[in-house]
């Protein structure tokens, strides 16, 4: 069970959070092609290494935030607000 640093509350156990999967996905407009819409709904990268994802402190403050995590080591590299750009 990981320790997740909530952007609002600080480090808490993973079971207080829900993971919302990959972050920074652009929602296509209504006139997007079936293929574009399909890949928005269903296709995700599964990288070994740094993954930018979003988490919600569901059993705490309720805030969504972004988190950069190494999927191989589970090292948490940074957390940043939903409206912020990913770290370089």
């Amino acid at each position: 069970m990981m320790r997740i640093p909530c952007i609002n509350c600080g480090p808490r156990d993973e079971n207080e959070f829900v993971c919302g999967g990959t972050s920074h996905i652009q929602r296509p407009a209504l006139d997007a092609s079936d293929e574009t819409w399909g890949s928005y709904l269903f296709f995700r990268d599964n990288p070994k290494g740094v993954h930018l994802e979003r988490w919600r402190h569901a059993q705490g403050c309720g805030r969504w935030f972004n988190l950069a995590r190494n999927t191989a080591t589970h090292e948490v590299l940074s957390v940043y607000a939903m409206t912020e750009a990913p770290p370089p």
Binding site: R3, G20, R27, D34, W64
Partner: protein, 977 residues
């Protein structure tokens, strides 16, 4: 002769003044306080303990600890029966009872042993190759009965388990010399330190002799403030320094007394410790030798025999032969001789020992190995052969053969933490390659077998961790020299690599020939390293053999991934207190007591415990629900709708936000107006519905379904926080803040007005689907005119702690209106008669809004909303889609079973849909139903065949609703008074 009890001073752990009686396979025996079940069995001369997993070979006690592959028993009886417990770990208690596993009718005469005779037909992969035609599942039940180990209790566990969370700077796993040294110096350096020791005693491999250094360290640990937990097995290291451990509680007579009294005890405690640093000091396991019939009862690890003699006062045999691949064997030989055991011979697989062995009083053979073991259920003798061509086979009479194949450091936690391993050629063992992330290994599990070096290194590690410095990496030493492979060339017979899973040397060879060469494939194909011991005695031998068969070094073969748990843990421990009523705690209504007084029959609906109906004396649930539904149609009823989901949405952009969320357009609602809304997910699937009412320009009041409110709140939050971050909107869930008293029926208004509702709420002033705030005797009300029953309906929302008060007020005037309380069952009847859907019952995970009659609403709306783009996919426009229909019974009397499949032909055939809701209508005197049907919208009037459990009934597609198609009742135009 066989194993037996030694006289004092042997048996350091025993309290010979306290004799304990116990039962094994219905035989009454006795032991002493301090015994394990294994030591007590050996002391009673019992060597045959169980039968093996696959071949049903006779097996005995093989080791003295957690690694034991074969000494498994089912412990206890009835509700507390616990299968596959290691006899080596069970502390003897008065009245303990245990039975052998995997044998019938008895362990001595086991019919399954025929498998052993057929073993040539049962090599690795046998099941995969043989039982694949026509279908494995035909054979599975029989094979599962034949194979396997113990039996679980058939009834619920009476014991309790609990969970404790803790934090520490340093957690040390292992209470031996190295672990104590590390813990003491860490604590002395100021670190908050917890030490976990799996056994009842500290000292690890030294715990069974009195040892001044251990005693001094234990005292120092106490002074330094180390928190020591004994009988606490660390079974897993997880992400970010989490150590999980099982503390065994309720030993001995406490538990026996509690069980006798028919109640449970607090049996185990799960520790979840978040550690800044973890120190693994888990020691090492002895590696068995490979020789034919090396699984016979009486064959045992040499270190274990030594421990049985000194700690438990048990001689594992009177005359022993030691099969050696390590200098440690010579020390064991001398130690056993001192205990009065005759060492007949020491057969060393190596060309020479590295320590002085001159003047040994026993026969020593080098470059030699055991070629044959005499005896089946016990050892009667053995034959050793020399690799030297000039050497001749020698036969020894003995009753025990001890195996000293070298050591395997317990690298499990290091590996679980993500550490890498390296192979030491000389000592033939895997040791940690540097530190694992967050974990440092010390002592034997780091490959340090020299006592002084281990203690000094561990103390340095403890100090470094306590001071925030980088701890020194261990330099493995002191293990001596062992050969990697101990197999003698040209041996026939079964040489067991894995005793628990009956894997022999030939199976590994077969796996290599069939190209299952990866160590992970080897494990799955042969099952070596599986089971309750996870190969603690077999892994190294198996992968060395695989290397031999495929011309690779052990380092190239590698090890399988070590995964938690290190040793089996009970499901009870993991479940903790989350069982029974606490598994999924239910919510109670604020006015529960009022419903109880009305005779409510409570049932679980979603996460709520609420009235299904209010049966009168002699009434069944069904009869009561029919009566209640009729009363709502004829006069009036009251329903506690408090579980209804309630959300408040505030903010200048609230209207725009709700337009994005719902299929309907909420921004055009005027203040006080309400509208039905369907909520989709991004795939276009209907996930919830409800009523959205506008309280003010920037304030909406939303009712969701009772089951969907948490999901809907979470979805709203996710869209607001992650996608529409520019919208100024706040969503507040208020389900438990507001109670809901729903009054429905032609006399609904009369009843409400009688208790003082002002004229502004009258149907003439307040239209259907409007919201109006007010007060009754100072209690604030939010009254929504809406109806799930099809009758004139008032949903009176009020502070939840006043729900009981309002129900009482109404009830006092109920007789004048023939009013009844009604439950969920009646509500379901009423809404089905009206063709109102229940999301999740009349929809499934494929239902789009167009399938339930909202195609026009979608087309009419110009703006985007969640899920809209998915409704434009070709699949969304498939004419064969399942669509909601109303169904009447073909003969107007036979009910249509819920879940029954609709198909023109007879099963097996392709289904065209199914029945989703079905009730007897008390008003019509006929069954009414809803269903999902392919092309349903265009099949009005069609007769269908409905199949259910071998019967077929006829149904007709009819026009919904069944009752009051013009909606006069619902609009309040027929209300009385």
């Amino acid at each position: 002769m066989t194993s037996s009890r030694l006289a004092a001073p042997f048996g350091l752990r025993l309290d010979r003044a306290r004799s304990l009686s116990f039962e094994f396979n219905d035989r009454r025996m006795s032991g002493y306080a301090g015994d394990t079940l294994a030591s007590a069995l050996l002391a009673n001369g019992v060597q045959l303990v169980g039968r093996s997993f696959k071949l049903h070979r006779p097996r005995g006690i093989f080791s003295c600890g957690v690694e034991d592959p074969s000494g498994l028993v089912d412990l206890g009886s009835g509700a507390t029966r616990t299968p596959n417990q290691r006899a080596t770990l069970i502390e003897l208690e008065e009245g303990l009872c245990a039975v052998s596993v995997n044998c019938w009718p008895t362990v001595e005469f086991d019919l399954g042993a025929v498998n052993g005779m057929l073993s040539a037909l049962l090599p690795a992969g046998f099941y995969y190759k043989t039982f694949k035609w026509p279908n494995w599942h035909l054979f599975e039940p029989t094979i599962r009965r034949m194979a396997g180990l113990g039996r679980a209790a058939g009834v619920a566990d009476p014991d309790r388990y609990e969970e404790v969370a803790a934090v520490a700077d340093v957690v040390v796993v292992g209470g031996g010399l190295a672990g104590l040294s590390a813990a003491v110096s860490a604590a002395q350096s100021g670190a908050h330190t917890i030490l976990l020791a799996s056994g009842a005693f500290l000292g690890g491999s030294l715990s069974w002799r009195s040892d001044a250094q251990i005693d001094a360290l234990v005292a120092a640990a106490g002074r330094a403030g180390v928190r020591i937990l004994t009988r606490t097995l660390a079974f897993g290291v997880y992400d970010h320094g989490l150590v999980c451990a099982r503390e065994s509680l309720a030993q001995g007579s406490d538990r026996a007394a509690a069980l006798h009294a028919g109640r449970g005890v607090l049996r185990e405690r799960l520790w979840k410790i978040r550690a800044r640093h973890i120190v693994a000091a888990a020691g090492a396991f002895e590696r068995p030798m490979l020789f034919p019939d090396n699984d016979r009862p009486g064959v045992m690890l040499a270190g274990a025999a030594d421990k049985y003699a000194h700690a438990f006062g048990v001689a594992c045999g009177q005359r022993v032969v030691i099969a050696a691949n390590s200098d440690s064997a010579y020390g064991v030989a001398e130690s056993l001789r001192a205990a009065g055991v005759e060492v007949v011979a020491l057969v060393d697989r190596r060309a020479r020992a590295d320590i002085g062995v001159d003047g040994t009083s026993f026969r020593t053979m080098t470059d030699a190995g055991i070629a044959r073991v005499d005896g089946t259920t016990s050892v009667r003798g053995c034959t050793a052969v020399s690799l030297d061509a000039a050497g001749r086979p020698e036969t020894f009479e003995c009753d025990s053969i001890l195996s000293a194949g070298g050591h395997a450091p317990a690298v499990h936690l290091h590996s679980q933490a993500g550490g890498k391993l390296r192979w030491l050629e000389d000592a033939a063992m895997f040791v940690p390659d540097g530190h694992a992330p967050g974990l440092v290994s010390v002592g034997a599990c780091a490959g340090i077998f020299d006592r002084e070096v281990a203690a000094e290194h561990a103390a340095q590690v403890g100090r470094a961790l306590g001071c925030g410095l980088i701890p020194p990496v261990a330099t493995p030493q002191g293990a001596g020299r062992s050969l990697a492979s101990t197999v003698l060339p040209g041996m026939t017979g079964k040489q067991f690599v894995d005793l628990q899973n009956d894997v022999v040397v030939g199976d590994v060879g077969l796996a290599a020939r069939e190209n299952y060469r990866s160590v992970e494939h080897l494990k799955r194909y042969t099952t070596t390293g599986m089971g309750t011991d996870q190969g603690k005695t077999s892994n190294v031998n198996a992968l060395v053999l695989m290397g031999d068969f495929t011309g690779r070094q052990p380092a190239e073969v590698g090890t399988t991934k070590f995964r938690p748990p290190f040793a089996p843990v009970t499901l009870g421990l993991l479940a903790g207190r989350r069982v029974g009523a606490l598994y999924r705690p239910l919510k109670s209504l604020p006015a529960e007591h009022w419903h109880q007084e009305r005779g409510a029959l409570f049932e679980q609906f979603g996460t709520w415990y609420r009235p299904a109906a209010y049966p009168l004396p002699g009434e069944t649930l069904d009869v009561a629900a029919q009566r209640e539904a009729r009363a709502v149609r004829e006069s009036v009823g009251v329903l506690d709708g408090s579980p209804l989901g309630k959300l408040e949405v505030f903010g200048p952009d609230a209207a725009e936000f709700l337009d994005l969320m719902y299929v309907g357009t909420m921004s055009t609602l005027s203040i006080g107006q309400a509208r039905y809304g369907v909520l989709l997910n991004e795939n276009g699937i209907v996930v919830d519905d409800g009523i959205v009412a506008r309280s003010s320009h920037a304030h909406y009041w939303i009712n969701t379904t009772s089951a969907g409110v948490e999901r809907t709140t979470a979805a709203f939050e996710e869209w607001l926080q992650c996608e529409y971050t520019n919208l100024r909107v706040v969503v507040t869930p208020v389900t438990s803040r507001w109670g809901n008293v729903t009054v429905a029926g032609p006399k609904a208004w009369s009843w409400l007005s009688t208790i003082g509702f002002d004229a502004g709420f009258a149907p003439g002033s307040m239209k259907h689907m409007t919201l109006r705030t007010g007060a009754l005797e100072g209690v604030p009300l939010r009254v929504l005119r809406a109806s799930f029953s099809g009758e004139l309906g008032y949903e009176v929302n009020l502070p939840s702690d006043h729900t009981h008060w309002l129900l009482e007020r109404l009830w006092a005037r109920a007789p004048e209106f023939a009013a009844v309380p009604y439950g969920i069952e009646a509500l379901e009847i009423l809404r089905t008669e009206k063709g109102f859907i229940h999301i999740g019952t009349d929809t499934d995970g494929t239902t789009l809004p167009g399938d339930i009659g909202f195609a026009r609403a979608v087309d009419k709306k110009k703006a985007n909303f969640v899920g809209r783009r998915s409704l434009l996919r070709p699949a969304a426009r498939d004419p064969e889609r399942l669509q909601l229909v109303a169904l009447a019974s073909g003969d107007a009397t036979t009910p249509l079973p819920v879940g029954a499949q609709i198909a023109a032909g007879s099963p097996p055939t392709r289904t065209e849909g199914y029945v989703t809701s079905s009730y007897m209508s008390p008003t019509l005197g006929a069954p009414v139903a809803l269903g999902l049907l392919a092309r349903g919208a265009e099949r009005l009037g069609e007769r269908l065949r409905v199949h259910h459990l071998g019967t077929t009934v006829e149904a007709v597609v009819v026009k919904a609703p069944f009752i009051d198609p013009p909606g006069e009742r619902l609009n309040g135009e027929r209300f009385d008074g």
